[in-house]
Symmetry: C2
Subunit: 193 residues, 2 copies
DNA sequence: CTCCTATAGAACAATTTGTTGCATAGTAGA
DNA sequence: TCTACTATGCAACAAATTGTTCTATAGGAG
Protein backbone atom coordinates (compact mmCIF):
# COMPACT_ATOMS: atom_id res chain seq x y z
CA UNK A 1 0.00 0.00 0.00
CA UNK A 2 2.04 2.89 -1.25
CA UNK A 3 1.29 6.53 -0.55
CA UNK A 4 -0.38 8.59 -3.21
CA UNK A 5 2.35 10.61 -4.93
CA UNK A 6 0.08 13.65 -4.82
CA UNK A 7 0.14 13.59 -1.02
CA UNK A 8 3.91 13.52 -1.01
CA UNK A 9 4.21 16.27 -3.58
CA UNK A 10 1.79 18.54 -1.74
CA UNK A 11 3.50 18.05 1.60
CA UNK A 12 6.91 18.71 0.13
CA UNK A 13 5.90 21.80 -1.80
CA UNK A 14 3.97 23.23 1.14
CA UNK A 15 6.72 22.62 3.68
CA UNK A 16 9.35 24.04 1.37
CA UNK A 17 7.36 27.24 1.22
CA UNK A 18 6.58 27.22 4.94
CA UNK A 19 10.27 26.84 5.66
CA UNK A 20 11.16 29.76 3.46
CA UNK A 21 8.52 31.93 5.08
CA UNK A 22 9.68 30.89 8.53
CA UNK A 23 13.24 31.91 7.73
CA UNK A 24 12.47 35.12 5.87
CA UNK A 25 9.59 36.56 7.83
CA UNK A 26 9.43 34.70 11.11
CA UNK A 27 7.01 32.32 12.71
CA UNK A 28 4.24 34.91 12.79
CA UNK A 29 3.81 34.69 9.05
CA UNK A 30 3.65 30.94 8.69
CA UNK A 31 -0.07 30.50 7.98
CA UNK A 32 -2.19 28.39 5.68
CA UNK A 33 -3.08 31.48 3.74
CA UNK A 34 0.52 32.55 3.18
CA UNK A 35 1.62 29.07 2.16
CA UNK A 36 -1.34 28.78 -0.17
CA UNK A 37 -0.50 32.05 -1.84
CA UNK A 38 3.16 31.09 -2.13
CA UNK A 39 2.56 27.67 -3.61
CA UNK A 40 -0.78 27.80 -5.42
CA UNK A 41 -1.99 24.90 -3.31
CA UNK A 42 -5.53 25.60 -2.22
CA UNK A 43 -6.20 26.51 1.37
CA UNK A 44 -8.62 23.66 1.87
CA UNK A 45 -5.98 21.14 0.84
CA UNK A 46 -3.52 22.62 3.30
CA UNK A 47 -6.07 22.39 6.08
CA UNK A 48 -6.57 18.76 5.18
CA UNK A 49 -2.87 18.13 5.74
CA UNK A 50 -2.42 20.34 8.79
CA UNK A 51 -5.67 20.93 10.67
CA UNK A 52 -4.61 24.16 12.36
CA UNK A 53 -1.99 26.87 12.36
CA UNK A 54 0.01 25.32 15.12
CA UNK A 55 0.44 21.95 13.45
CA UNK A 56 1.59 23.69 10.28
CA UNK A 57 4.17 25.72 12.15
CA UNK A 58 5.31 22.66 14.07
CA UNK A 59 5.74 20.76 10.83
CA UNK A 60 7.82 23.58 9.38
CA UNK A 61 9.99 23.67 12.50
CA UNK A 62 10.51 19.97 12.61
CA UNK A 63 11.43 19.71 8.96
CA UNK A 64 14.01 22.45 9.02
CA UNK A 65 15.29 21.78 12.48
CA UNK A 66 16.68 18.40 11.64
CA UNK A 67 20.33 19.19 11.21
CA UNK A 68 22.71 16.69 9.60
CA UNK A 69 24.79 14.40 11.74
CA UNK A 70 28.50 15.08 11.78
CA UNK A 71 30.63 11.98 12.19
CA UNK A 72 33.75 13.34 13.90
CA UNK A 73 37.20 12.91 12.50
CA UNK A 74 39.36 11.40 15.25
CA UNK A 75 42.64 10.50 13.64
CA UNK A 76 44.46 13.38 15.23
CA UNK A 77 46.14 15.56 16.07
CA UNK A 78 43.71 17.20 18.49
CA UNK A 79 43.92 20.63 16.97
CA UNK A 80 43.24 19.31 13.52
CA UNK A 81 40.29 17.13 14.59
CA UNK A 82 38.74 19.94 16.59
CA UNK A 83 39.28 22.44 13.83
CA UNK A 84 37.59 20.15 11.35
CA UNK A 85 34.59 19.36 13.54
CA UNK A 86 33.95 22.94 14.59
CA UNK A 87 34.53 24.03 11.00
CA UNK A 88 31.67 21.82 9.86
CA UNK A 89 29.51 23.07 12.71
CA UNK A 90 30.32 26.66 11.82
CA UNK A 91 29.58 25.98 8.18
CA UNK A 92 26.19 24.60 9.10
CA UNK A 93 25.44 27.72 11.13
CA UNK A 94 26.56 30.02 8.35
CA UNK A 95 25.26 28.37 5.24
CA UNK A 96 22.37 26.01 5.92
CA UNK A 97 18.71 26.56 6.77
CA UNK A 98 19.49 25.32 10.24
CA UNK A 99 21.60 28.38 10.92
CA UNK A 100 18.82 30.70 9.90
CA UNK A 101 16.11 28.86 11.71
CA UNK A 102 17.94 28.13 14.94
CA UNK A 103 16.94 31.41 16.65
CA UNK A 104 13.29 30.67 16.01
CA UNK A 105 13.68 27.17 17.43
CA UNK A 106 15.44 28.57 20.46
CA UNK A 107 12.57 30.92 21.11
CA UNK A 108 9.92 28.33 20.47
CA UNK A 109 11.64 26.05 22.95
CA UNK A 110 10.74 28.35 25.80
CA UNK A 111 7.04 27.64 25.33
CA UNK A 112 7.01 24.54 23.14
CA UNK A 113 8.00 21.10 24.36
CA UNK A 114 8.55 19.80 20.83
CA UNK A 115 11.06 22.51 19.98
CA UNK A 116 12.87 21.90 23.25
CA UNK A 117 13.26 18.24 22.39
CA UNK A 118 14.66 19.13 18.98
CA UNK A 119 17.30 21.31 20.58
CA UNK A 120 18.36 19.03 23.39
CA UNK A 121 18.57 16.02 21.09
CA UNK A 122 20.61 17.99 18.63
CA UNK A 123 22.97 19.34 21.26
CA UNK A 124 23.46 15.86 22.66
CA UNK A 125 24.73 14.78 19.24
CA UNK A 126 27.07 17.73 18.95
CA UNK A 127 28.46 17.24 22.42
CA UNK A 128 29.05 13.56 21.70
CA UNK A 129 31.04 14.44 18.59
CA UNK A 130 33.27 16.86 20.47
CA UNK A 131 33.70 14.39 23.26
CA UNK A 132 34.81 11.73 20.80
CA UNK A 133 37.50 14.07 19.55
CA UNK A 134 38.86 14.68 23.05
CA UNK A 135 38.60 11.00 23.93
CA UNK A 136 40.65 10.09 20.87
CA UNK A 137 43.29 12.61 21.88
CA UNK A 138 43.44 11.04 25.33
CA UNK A 139 43.69 7.62 23.70
CA UNK A 140 46.71 8.77 21.68
CA UNK A 141 48.31 10.15 24.83
CA UNK A 142 48.19 13.64 23.37
CA UNK A 143 46.44 14.93 26.47
CA UNK A 144 45.73 13.26 29.78
CA UNK A 145 42.36 12.13 31.01
CA UNK A 146 42.15 14.56 33.90
CA UNK A 147 41.19 17.60 31.84
CA UNK A 148 37.74 19.06 32.52
CA UNK A 149 36.23 17.57 29.38
CA UNK A 150 32.64 18.54 30.04
CA UNK A 151 33.50 22.17 30.46
CA UNK A 152 35.71 22.17 27.39
CA UNK A 153 32.96 20.65 25.30
CA UNK A 154 30.49 23.22 26.48
CA UNK A 155 32.85 26.09 25.72
CA UNK A 156 33.74 24.63 22.34
CA UNK A 157 30.12 24.55 21.20
CA UNK A 158 28.78 27.49 23.19
CA UNK A 159 31.10 30.06 21.65
CA UNK A 160 30.04 29.68 18.00
CA UNK A 161 26.37 29.42 18.89
CA UNK A 162 26.49 32.41 21.18
CA UNK A 163 28.36 34.44 18.65
CA UNK A 164 26.02 33.62 15.80
CA UNK A 165 22.62 33.38 17.45
CA UNK A 166 22.87 35.91 20.21
CA UNK A 167 25.44 38.45 19.17
CA UNK A 168 24.93 38.22 15.42
CA UNK A 169 28.66 38.49 14.91
CA UNK A 170 30.46 36.92 12.00
CA UNK A 171 31.69 33.36 12.28
CA UNK A 172 34.76 33.24 10.09
CA UNK A 173 37.89 31.15 9.66
CA UNK A 174 40.04 33.60 11.53
CA UNK A 175 37.82 33.60 14.58
CA UNK A 176 37.56 29.81 14.55
CA UNK A 177 41.32 29.38 14.39
CA UNK A 178 41.75 31.45 17.51
CA UNK A 179 38.92 29.63 19.24
CA UNK A 180 40.45 26.23 18.51
CA UNK A 181 43.88 27.44 19.56
CA UNK A 182 42.55 28.52 22.92
CA UNK A 183 40.68 25.28 23.48
CA UNK A 184 43.79 23.26 22.70
CA UNK A 185 45.93 25.33 24.99
CA UNK A 186 43.47 24.81 27.82
CA UNK A 187 43.40 21.09 27.19
CA UNK A 188 47.16 20.87 27.17
CA UNK A 189 48.02 23.11 30.09
CA UNK A 190 45.45 21.30 32.21
CA UNK A 191 46.91 18.03 31.11
CA UNK A 192 49.01 15.91 33.41
CA UNK A 193 49.01 18.06 36.51
CA UNK B 1 3.10 70.36 31.02
CA UNK B 2 2.83 67.10 32.94
CA UNK B 3 1.47 63.90 31.53
CA UNK B 4 -2.01 62.79 32.40
CA UNK B 5 -1.72 60.14 35.12
CA UNK B 6 -4.30 58.04 33.31
CA UNK B 7 -1.97 57.69 30.35
CA UNK B 8 0.80 56.50 32.58
CA UNK B 9 -1.41 54.07 34.45
CA UNK B 10 -2.81 52.58 31.27
CA UNK B 11 0.58 52.14 29.69
CA UNK B 12 1.99 50.52 32.79
CA UNK B 13 -0.91 48.14 33.34
CA UNK B 14 -1.05 47.16 29.69
CA UNK B 15 2.66 46.55 29.34
CA UNK B 16 2.77 44.58 32.56
CA UNK B 17 0.16 42.26 31.12
CA UNK B 18 1.81 42.18 27.69
CA UNK B 19 5.06 41.25 29.32
CA UNK B 20 3.47 38.42 31.24
CA UNK B 21 1.76 37.09 28.13
CA UNK B 22 4.99 37.34 26.18
CA UNK B 23 6.80 35.27 28.79
CA UNK B 24 4.09 32.72 29.44
CA UNK B 25 2.67 32.12 26.00
CA UNK B 26 5.09 33.58 23.50
CA UNK B 27 5.04 36.46 21.10
CA UNK B 28 2.19 34.96 19.08
CA UNK B 29 -0.27 35.68 21.85
CA UNK B 30 0.66 39.29 22.51
CA UNK B 31 -2.36 41.01 20.92
CA UNK B 32 -4.59 43.93 21.78
CA UNK B 33 -7.40 41.51 22.42
CA UNK B 34 -5.42 39.38 24.85
CA UNK B 35 -4.07 42.37 26.75
CA UNK B 36 -7.55 43.85 26.91
CA UNK B 37 -8.98 40.67 28.34
CA UNK B 38 -6.15 40.37 30.84
CA UNK B 39 -6.36 43.94 32.10
CA UNK B 40 -9.92 45.10 31.56
CA UNK B 41 -8.62 48.01 29.51
CA UNK B 42 -10.79 48.43 26.46
CA UNK B 43 -9.44 47.45 23.10
CA UNK B 44 -10.01 50.89 21.63
CA UNK B 45 -7.87 52.45 24.33
CA UNK B 46 -5.09 50.01 23.63
CA UNK B 47 -5.27 50.81 19.93
CA UNK B 48 -5.02 54.47 20.82
CA UNK B 49 -1.73 53.77 22.62
CA UNK B 50 -0.32 51.26 20.16
CA UNK B 51 -1.79 51.60 16.68
CA UNK B 52 -1.06 48.04 15.53
CA UNK B 53 0.00 44.63 16.74
CA UNK B 54 3.60 45.13 15.90
CA UNK B 55 4.04 48.30 17.90
CA UNK B 56 2.44 46.62 20.90
CA UNK B 57 4.80 43.67 20.66
CA UNK B 58 7.76 45.97 20.18
CA UNK B 59 6.79 47.92 23.26
CA UNK B 60 6.54 44.74 25.30
CA UNK B 61 9.95 43.65 24.08
CA UNK B 62 11.58 46.95 24.74
CA UNK B 63 10.17 47.24 28.23
CA UNK B 64 11.20 43.82 29.38
CA UNK B 65 14.42 43.67 27.47
CA UNK B 66 15.99 46.51 29.36
CA UNK B 67 18.14 44.65 31.82
CA UNK B 68 19.73 46.40 34.77
CA UNK B 69 23.27 47.64 34.51
CA UNK B 70 25.82 45.79 36.55
CA UNK B 71 28.65 47.99 37.83
CA UNK B 72 31.51 45.52 38.12
CA UNK B 73 33.38 44.95 41.33
CA UNK B 74 37.07 45.38 40.55
CA UNK B 75 38.84 45.34 43.90
CA UNK B 76 40.22 41.87 43.35
CA UNK B 77 41.23 39.19 43.43
CA UNK B 78 40.33 38.17 39.89
CA UNK B 79 38.50 35.03 40.87
CA UNK B 80 36.39 36.88 43.37
CA UNK B 81 35.52 39.75 41.02
CA UNK B 82 34.66 37.40 38.20
CA UNK B 83 32.64 35.17 40.44
CA UNK B 84 30.66 38.12 41.70
CA UNK B 85 29.98 39.59 38.27
CA UNK B 86 28.97 36.31 36.66
CA UNK B 87 26.95 35.49 39.74
CA UNK B 88 24.86 38.62 39.23
CA UNK B 89 24.53 37.84 35.53
CA UNK B 90 23.47 34.30 36.34
CA UNK B 91 20.98 35.56 38.88
CA UNK B 92 19.45 37.85 36.29
CA UNK B 93 19.11 34.95 33.88
CA UNK B 94 17.55 32.72 36.51
CA UNK B 95 15.28 35.03 38.44
CA UNK B 96 14.32 38.11 36.43
CA UNK B 97 11.94 38.68 33.52
CA UNK B 98 14.97 39.21 31.34
CA UNK B 99 15.93 35.56 31.71
CA UNK B 100 12.51 34.39 30.62
CA UNK B 101 12.18 36.81 27.77
CA UNK B 102 15.67 36.54 26.34
CA UNK B 103 14.87 33.60 24.04
CA UNK B 104 12.03 35.55 22.48
CA UNK B 105 14.27 38.55 21.96
CA UNK B 106 16.91 36.35 20.39
CA UNK B 107 14.39 34.98 17.94
CA UNK B 108 12.89 38.34 17.17
CA UNK B 109 16.37 39.67 16.46
CA UNK B 110 16.62 37.48 13.38
CA UNK B 111 13.84 39.39 11.64
CA UNK B 112 13.53 42.57 13.72
CA UNK B 113 16.08 45.35 13.72
CA UNK B 114 14.83 46.77 17.01
CA UNK B 115 15.33 43.51 18.87
CA UNK B 116 18.78 43.14 17.40
CA UNK B 117 19.74 46.55 18.70
CA UNK B 118 18.49 45.65 22.17
CA UNK B 119 20.68 42.56 22.21
CA UNK B 120 23.85 44.08 20.84
CA UNK B 121 23.63 47.09 23.13
CA UNK B 122 23.05 44.85 26.09
CA UNK B 123 25.92 42.54 25.23
CA UNK B 124 28.22 45.50 24.79
CA UNK B 125 27.49 46.46 28.39
CA UNK B 126 28.10 42.97 29.68
CA UNK B 127 31.34 42.61 27.77
CA UNK B 128 32.53 45.95 29.10
CA UNK B 129 31.90 44.82 32.67
CA UNK B 130 33.86 41.62 32.21
CA UNK B 131 36.63 43.51 30.50
CA UNK B 132 36.85 45.92 33.42
CA UNK B 133 37.37 42.98 35.75
CA UNK B 134 40.23 41.61 33.68
CA UNK B 135 41.74 45.04 33.22
CA UNK B 136 41.75 45.57 36.98
CA UNK B 137 43.51 42.24 37.45
CA UNK B 138 46.14 43.31 34.93
CA UNK B 139 46.47 46.61 36.78
CA UNK B 140 47.13 44.78 40.04
CA UNK B 141 49.72 42.63 38.28
CA UNK B 142 47.70 39.54 39.01
CA UNK B 143 47.77 38.57 35.34
CA UNK B 144 49.73 40.01 32.45
CA UNK B 145 48.32 42.02 29.61
CA UNK B 146 49.07 39.49 26.91
CA UNK B 147 46.20 37.17 27.68
CA UNK B 148 43.56 36.80 24.95
CA UNK B 149 41.09 39.04 26.74
CA UNK B 150 38.50 39.21 23.99
CA UNK B 151 38.22 35.48 23.77
CA UNK B 152 38.05 35.10 27.52
CA UNK B 153 35.27 37.64 27.74
CA UNK B 154 33.31 35.89 25.05
CA UNK B 155 33.70 32.53 26.75
CA UNK B 156 32.82 33.97 30.14
CA UNK B 157 29.50 35.33 28.92
CA UNK B 158 28.74 32.76 26.22
CA UNK B 159 28.72 29.78 28.54
CA UNK B 160 25.92 30.87 30.89
CA UNK B 161 23.79 32.21 28.02
CA UNK B 162 24.27 29.12 25.93
CA UNK B 163 23.52 26.87 28.86
CA UNK B 164 20.39 28.69 29.82
CA UNK B 165 18.90 29.84 26.53
CA UNK B 166 19.89 27.09 24.19
CA UNK B 167 20.37 23.98 26.26
CA UNK B 168 17.85 24.78 28.99
CA UNK B 169 20.22 23.40 31.57
CA UNK B 170 20.35 24.60 35.14
CA UNK B 171 22.58 27.53 36.03
CA UNK B 172 23.60 26.87 39.61
CA UNK B 173 26.33 27.89 42.01
CA UNK B 174 28.23 24.67 41.53
CA UNK B 175 28.38 25.08 37.76
CA UNK B 176 29.40 28.71 38.07
CA UNK B 177 32.23 27.91 40.46
CA UNK B 178 33.72 25.49 37.98
CA UNK B 179 33.23 27.95 35.14
CA UNK B 180 35.03 30.73 36.99
CA UNK B 181 37.80 28.37 38.04
CA UNK B 182 38.45 27.41 34.45
CA UNK B 183 38.43 31.02 33.26
CA UNK B 184 40.93 32.01 35.94
CA UNK B 185 43.19 29.10 35.15
CA UNK B 186 43.19 30.08 31.48
CA UNK B 187 43.97 33.68 32.35
CA UNK B 188 46.83 32.69 34.60
CA UNK B 189 48.45 29.97 32.51
CA UNK B 190 48.38 32.29 29.50
CA UNK B 191 49.87 35.02 31.59
CA UNK B 192 53.44 36.09 31.18
CA UNK B 193 54.56 33.80 28.40
C1' DC C 1 -12.23 1.39 -18.32
C1' DT C 2 -13.43 1.82 -13.37
C1' DC C 3 -12.99 2.79 -8.68
C1' DC C 4 -10.74 5.47 -5.31
C1' DT C 5 -8.91 9.52 -3.51
C1' DA C 6 -6.54 14.09 -3.54
C1' DT C 7 -7.14 18.54 -5.05
C1' DA C 8 -9.34 23.12 -6.48
C1' DG C 9 -12.71 26.22 -5.76
C1' DA C 10 -16.41 28.49 -3.80
C1' DA C 11 -19.49 29.42 -0.23
C1' DC C 12 -19.84 29.95 4.47
C1' DA C 13 -19.43 30.91 9.74
C1' DA C 14 -16.47 32.38 13.40
C1' DT C 15 -12.83 34.87 15.06
C1' DT C 16 -9.54 38.46 14.96
C1' DT C 17 -7.98 42.99 13.65
C1' DG C 18 -8.45 47.67 13.23
C1' DT C 19 -11.65 52.02 12.95
C1' DT C 20 -14.97 55.40 14.38
C1' DG C 21 -18.42 58.14 17.05
C1' DC C 22 -20.25 59.19 21.31
C1' DA C 23 -21.16 59.29 26.26
C1' DT C 24 -18.76 59.29 30.58
C1' DA C 25 -15.51 60.28 33.94
C1' DG C 26 -11.08 61.88 35.58
C1' DT C 27 -7.74 65.93 35.45
C1' DA C 28 -5.98 70.62 35.47
C1' DG C 29 -6.52 75.37 36.01
C1' DA C 30 -9.16 79.56 37.30
C1' DT D 1 -16.83 75.11 42.56
C1' DC D 2 -17.04 75.78 37.68
C1' DT D 3 -15.04 75.05 33.09
C1' DA D 4 -12.36 73.22 29.45
C1' DC D 5 -9.81 69.36 28.18
C1' DT D 6 -8.80 64.68 27.28
C1' DA D 7 -8.46 59.67 28.26
C1' DT D 8 -11.33 55.98 28.71
C1' DG D 9 -15.25 52.64 27.85
C1' DC D 10 -18.52 50.96 24.84
C1' DA D 11 -20.90 49.69 20.87
C1' DA D 12 -21.23 49.42 16.10
C1' DC D 13 -18.79 48.55 12.21
C1' DA D 14 -15.62 47.08 8.08
C1' DA D 15 -11.93 44.20 6.72
C1' DA D 16 -9.00 40.45 6.99
C1' DT D 17 -8.00 35.94 8.76
C1' DT D 18 -9.11 31.40 10.22
C1' DG D 19 -11.33 27.24 9.85
C1' DT D 20 -15.25 24.20 7.74
C1' DT D 21 -17.93 21.97 4.27
C1' DC D 22 -19.64 20.73 -0.21
C1' DT D 23 -19.15 19.67 -5.05
C1' DA D 24 -16.86 19.06 -9.34
C1' DT D 25 -12.66 17.59 -11.36
C1' DA D 26 -8.56 15.25 -12.29
C1' DG D 27 -4.88 12.03 -11.27
C1' DG D 28 -3.46 7.34 -9.88
C1' DA D 29 -4.07 2.13 -9.21
C1' DG D 30 -5.88 -2.10 -10.67
Amino acid sequence: MKEDPRLIATRQTALDAAQKILMDEGVLHVTHGAVSKATGISRSTLYRHWPDARSLRDAAFRRIATPPNIPPKTDGPLRSDLRWLLGVLMGALNDTPWGQIAPQVVAAASTDEEARLVITEFMKDRFASVEAVFAAAVGRGEITADIPVDQLIELAVAAPYFRKLIRHEALDEEWLDKHVDLLCSIAKTNSGQ
